[in-house]
């Protein structure tokens, strides 16, 4: 179908009836949506420099396309404010990179959800939460940007639960899975800096996350103790694969790790070397595959890949680590990849700017 910016539905001039109409059309995630009235969509579009028919992402199998206009409509439905829109656009530009494989990660029985991590000053500009109750409810930007991501997958790309989204169990992040990186008190360079964006440019990183694992440790007071408990979570038999990982360290844990002088690279190397299972252990649960072991231990193997063990990921750089959450509590988290192998690789894009664009 060619782009048509005037596909308009006339509904009764009653808000509750309009909400019900959206339900009847199958446009929701199960929760009520804001009816996408014309002026709200136009306000959303004002935050994007490209024309409404510009294509942001294309589904590799069906060729269905996400236009700026369709993104704006779904953003309104999710409850986004217009200033959130550049984050959503950047997220789908990142997800459109082939190595992210958003079709596979959405369609799979694995049940993943795209985790969005917003880094840099833009997160503060739009009032995102990087602090207490990081993954929980209560912040409009976090909640609605993540929700808009899901609505686009459903409405634009037709990834319909039970039909083209075959998640065995799914996970709660499939409603919304969007956080900001905590800059306040963060001793390490922000992700947008590590990603080499110019000063002042924020970024969004997308990762096909397979769930959420809380890592509690209130007794450890060395980097090895704190990160040792994280590594154990990363290596649990239910999760360990060659896939990537996201680790969000609580400020309490970060103070212990960085306070001992550890850099991000130090922590990544420690986690990669410790998040492992023996071949015998993998065989004991029926999950050992020689082709995977050989891939990790072949000619290109990382020097920390220990013979006789299967590590999580291929290299330390496969582990994204940063800080988030409230000041109190020894609760970090590990988010496993959807992919058992290299089926989805995390991607990032700058927010609201175009760098090296054609």
């Amino acid at each position: 179908m060619p782009f048509d910016s005037h596909r308009i539905h006339d509904v009764p001039d009653d808000l509750l009836a309009a909400i019900d109409y959206c339900y009847e059309q199958g446009w929701t995630d199960g929760l009520p949506v804001i009816p996408p009235v014309l002026d709200r969509v136009q306000a959303m579009l004002a935050y994007e420099g490209r024309p409404p028919e510009a294509v942001i992402a294309t589904h590799p199998a069906t060729t269905l396309q996400l236009t700026v206009h369709a993104a704006a409509v779904n953003a309104v439905m999710a409850g986004c404010l217009p200033e959130y829109f550049p984050v959503l656009v950047a997220a789908f530009e990142a997800m459109d990179k082939p190595d992210f494989n958003f079709h596979g990660s959405t369609a799979s029985t694995g049940g993943s959800a795209p985790l969005l991590i917003v880094s840099g000053g833009y997160a503060d500009d739009i009032g995102m939460n990087a602090d207490v109750n990081l993954f929980g409810p209560g912040n409009r930007a976090n909640a609605t940007i993540g929700r808009a991501t899901r609505l686009i997958l459903r409405n634009v790309f037709q990834m319909i639960p039970g039909i083209s989204d075959k998640s065995t169990q799914g996970n709660p992040g499939k409603y919304s899975f969007c956080i900001a990186e905590r800059a306040r008190g963060n001793p390490w360079p922000l992700l947008c800096q590590e990603q080499d964006y110019p000063e002042g440019v924020s970024s969004v990183t997308v990762f096909a996350g397979g769930g959420f694992c809380n890592v509690e440790n209130h007794g450890g007071n060395t980097p090895e103790q704190v990160l040792g408990s994280v590594a154990d979570a990363m290596a649990n038999y239910g999760c360990i694969t060659l896939g990537q990982a996201v680790v969000i360290l609580a400020p309490e844990h970060m103070r212990i790790v960085a306070g001992a002088g550890w850099t991000r690279k130090d922590a990544q190397a420690f986690l990669f070397s410790q998040a492992k299972r023996s071949i015998e252990g993998m065989k004991s649960v029926g999950k050992y595959r020689d082709v995977e072991y050989d891939k990790q231990h072949g000619p290109e193997a990382h020097r920390l890949a220990e013979p006789g063990y299967v590590h999580r990921g291929m290299t330390p750089e496969d582990i994204l680590i940063t800080m988030g959450g409230g000041d109190a509590g020894g609760h970090s988290c590990f988010i496993p990849s959807w992919s058992r192998g290299r089926g989805s690789i995390m991607q990032h894009k700058p927010i609201g700017v175009c760098i090296d664009c054609n």
Binding site: D4, R7, H9, D10, Y21, L38, Q65, A70, G104, G343
Partner: protein, 92 residues
């Protein structure tokens, strides 16, 4: 009240099915395995049934490195040139 439609404004699609084979006796089979744990074994078993029952010949097994992504177009073009029909499926 007027609402914009939130569903796709996708590119025009042009898809068509290949013509069905008139018969499968003696045809050449290709296997496209998706890299999952049991895919080669399971698909080989299926292909063997065609060999036993219909006198087919197994020409080649093609592989995908990413089970959840479309097969590379060069893989499909190669298979189309080499075999009469292709067997594929999930193999978890």
């Amino acid at each position: 009240m007027q609402l914009y439609d939130p569903t796709s404004s996708g590119a025009e699609r042009s898809l068509s099915r290949a013509a069905a084979l008139a018969a499968i006796e003696g045809k050449t089979i290709g296997i496209l395995e998706n890299g999952k744990l049991n895919a080669p074994e399971m698909l080989r078993e299926v292909a063997d049934l065609f060999v036993a029952r219909h006198g087919c010949t197994i020409h080649a097994m093609y592989s995908k490195s990413n089970a959840s992504a479309p097969a590379p177009s060069e893989t499909l073009a190669k298979a189309a040139a080499e075999v009469d029909f292709l067997i594929t499926g999930l193999g978890d």
